[in-house]
């Protein structure tokens, strides 16, 4: 029975489409694919050699797995979304997620100046640091060299033995024979270059079996004996001359003597939540932190609100079709947007200069703008207004054009004045359109490092607290903690970073939720 019906039926069936896997493949597409994957393999092979040479087997494993995974992903017809998501995600993981997690983990340690490496590193540093000259020891001829920039590159000592004339390279890892004089790749510092870095050179020590080689002036070096030694049994540093003992304190990551004296070189240990509680319990830090937090909100809201209101006002002023020169006005107004902002921030800083700044000159006054808290805060907000309003102006102009003219006409018919029509119809519509933008602008300004660092550097600072100034944002405050002159405190800086993250995330999440609610009401 089936055969009878089957015959005519098959003729009526539409031609079957090809299965999706057999999509058209162009020659150009295929070649591009092969080239890109070839490039990937080539880069992976190139990257593998240093890993093998350095015995970084875990790194090599990650590299091989990633490459194999990528090859599989782009050779299989499956997992289409992943093909598009993976490239960006790889960078995101390496350069954002991983550093963020790392930062988060340092927040629980005392990582910073004096607490950088392991305990063994600290012991080596203490021993080499305590080297003093033994009378009658050999004096070597010394030249100071570097592989990088003479002003900033890492230093090495080129040491010539007066007896044999043999040259050796010495750095924090010890001595090794040099392959030339000066060895290939090294630049010898001139007397002038060396003397500008004399403090570094004085502190520089090359560890040797008996003690360390240190400099005596800029052209001579000697081998000396370590006065302080680590006693593994007592787990303490002992001074062989005075007999003083500094036992290790594992909870603080430092060697602390009975009289409370603490050696500068310590090591990294976990301190739990101490960095987080310090922001609230340490009186100096707590008052600075709260003040900075409040100003940070004022600054972010002031910058965003100010640029938005002024930009919108200008956009509305330029809305009328009866107005001439609109195009010219627009171009001239948005010019600040085209100027490099980092440079203009520095220019503004100098325009606020007390003695020869443009603002005092033009106004004929003598105000120390960046010297008192209120004027400095006003100044940075004004700079933000200048930098930011052209963008808001452009965006509101676009959004205003998107509001249908019928709406405004309708309000006119209903008897609304221009202000009422703006307040009741245009503004709510604008806000719906621009709220996401305003929120991201807020989040950006909350952490607007350049705006503060390049103008006031956080100042003016109160006399009693050089760490937190009147215009400091949390981010510039954190930067000073981590990289500032008075000793780096990465652990604490990381803890503050996490606070910043939580504040911005919460504010943004709440406002995004509110926007959505608003949108449902109006649309």
């Amino acid at each position: 029975m089936t055969t009878q019906l089957g015959g005519p039926a098959t003729q009526r069936v539409l031609p079957v489409t090809e299965p999706p896997a057999e999509r058209s493949v162009t020659a150009a597409g295929l070649i591009t694919k092969v080239l890109l994957l070839g490039l990937l393999v080539a880069v992976a092979v190139w990257a593998a050699f240093p890993l093998i040479a350095g015995d970084h087997w875990v790194g090599l494993g990650v590299l091989v797995t990633t490459t194999a995974g990528l090859l599989y992903l782009y050779l299989t017809p499956r997992h289409v979304p992943a093909k598009y998501l993976v490239p960006g995600t790889i960078f995101l993981i390496i350069f954002q997620i991983f550093p963020v997690l790392y930062t988060a983990s340092t927040a629980f340690t005392n990582f910073g100046d004096g607490h950088r490496g392991s305990k063994a590193d600290a012991v080596t540093a203490i021993q080499t640091g305590s080297v003093t000259r033994v009378p009658g020891s050999t004096e070597y001829r010394l030249r100071i060299a570097t592989q990088g920039d003479p002003a900033t590159g890492a230093l090495v000592f080129l040491i010539t033995d007066p007896a044999t004339g043999q040259v050796q390279i010495g750095d924090a890892g010890g001595l090794r024979p040099a392959d030339g004089n000066p060895p290939a790749g090294y630049t010898v510092l001139t007397a002038g270059q060396a003397s500008t870095r004399s403090a570094e050179i004085t502190d520089f020590a090359v560890p040797t079996a008996a003690g360390a080689i240190r400099s005596a002036g800029l052209s001579r070096a000697y081998e000396g004996k370590a006065v302080r030694a680590y006693d593994a049994v007592a787990d303490a540093i002992k001074d062989t001359v005075t007999g003083k003992v500094w036992p290790a304190d594992e909870s603080a990551g430092a060697f602390v003597a009975a009289d409370g004296e603490r050696l500068a070189q310590g090591w990294k240990v976990n301190v739990g939540f101490a960095n987080f509680t310090r922001a609230f319990t340490d009186d100096d830090v707590a008052s600075a932190f709260l003040g900075t937090l409040i100003w940070d909100f004022v600054f972010a809201i002031g910058s965003t609100g100010g640029t938005f209101v002024f930009g919108m006002f200008c956009a509305i002023a330029l809305q009328s079709t009866r107005m001439r020169f609109r195009g010219l006005y627009r171009i001239l107004m948005v010019l600040p947007y085209a100027m490099p902002s980092f440079a203009m921030l520095l220019v503004w800083r100098d325009m606020f200069n007390t003695d020869f700044g443009l603002i005092n000159n033009v106004l004929g006054i003598h105000v120390d703008w960046l010297g008192t808290p209120i004027t400095a805060q006003f100044a940075v907000l004004l700079v933000q207004l200048w930098l930011g309003y052209p963008y808001m102006f452009l965006v509101t102009t676009g959004a205003l054009q998107a509001i249908p003219g019928e709406l405004t006409d309708a309000t006119k018919v209903d008897g609304a004045g221009p202000f009422q029509s703006f307040r009741r119809v245009k503004l709510p519509l604008l806000l719906i359109a621009l709220t996401p933008l305003l929120i991201s602008s807020f989040a950006f300004n909350f952490n607007n490092f350049n705006a503060i660092f390049l103008t006031t550097e956080g100042g003016p600072f109160p006399a009693d607290n050089p760490n937190s100034g009147a215009t400091d944002l949390l981010i510039t405050y954190t930067y000073r903690l981590a990289f500032g002159g008075s000793g780096a405190q990465y652990g604490f800086a990381a803890a503050v970073s996490i606070f910043i993250f939580m504040i911005v995330a919460v504010v943004s999440a709440v406002s995004f939720r509110r926007t959505r609610a608003q949108e449902e009401v109006y649309s």
């Binding site: 598009y84 550093p99 002023a317 330029l318 009866r322 600040p336 325009m351 959004a399």
Partner: protein
Amino acid sequence: MTATAKWIKQVGWRHLVAILAVLFSLGPIAFVLSAAVNPLGTLSSSSLVPSGVSPDNFSRLWSDTDFGHWFVNSVVIAALASFLSVFLSALAAFAFSRRRFRGRRTGLLALLLIQMFPQFLAIVALFLIFSTVTDLWPPIGFNTWWGMVLIYLGGALGVNTWLMKGFFDTVPKELDESAHVDGASHVQIFFKILLPLVSPILAVSGLLAFIGTINEFLIANVFLRDGAAKTLSVGLYGLVQGSERNTNFGMFCAGTLLTAIPTVGVFMYLQRYIVEGLSAGAVKG
């Protein structure tokens, strides 16, 4: 009401606002221009109206500093980083807009959340990562173009991806469906159909990324220490540090004007898309 009063009420005030805004916008730029051609080249001798016109600051900038290197570094890094990051972002936006997969909503939210942690807060970690990278692979380590580009690409997925996803969503899905029926692969749909249609938002994201990268100071300041490897922001900042602040001001302003050239160039090149893309981006968020 007289005709003049009516004109003032309806049009005149608009001109007043526009003129005041233009003055506000142009004031600092005029100052930079005047300081750049000021023959004395110091901050104390600079004013709104230059005392003379001379190219000294420009020629000193060229001969006394590595300005040429800085300029090339900045343009290359910013161009590479913004082009690649727009491309990566567009790829991801395509997946988020056109494909339905597990973890799509979570992924979008996670992108937004990660953005809230500004990349440079993690600068200590980045510094440690790159210390290792420089030891192993010097060509992509400190003081290199690729090192900087790689770091900036870490921020490629983020707000831009959201902006683009919103724009992709406005392109009717029927377009790709009909292309699919005609036998186009997803790669062809992406490159040949969608990318041309979303070019305004690509242009805007590209411009914003370019401006952002060329102005980026903090990461560059930590990663580029060698004189010739610096970017414009790091190099020019160094010109007006400490005691040099007054004497180098003219050179600094000359450099500022030259720095505006690539930005203005990109702006002009992408101009026809800009207003459309900005407003569309704003509406879509």
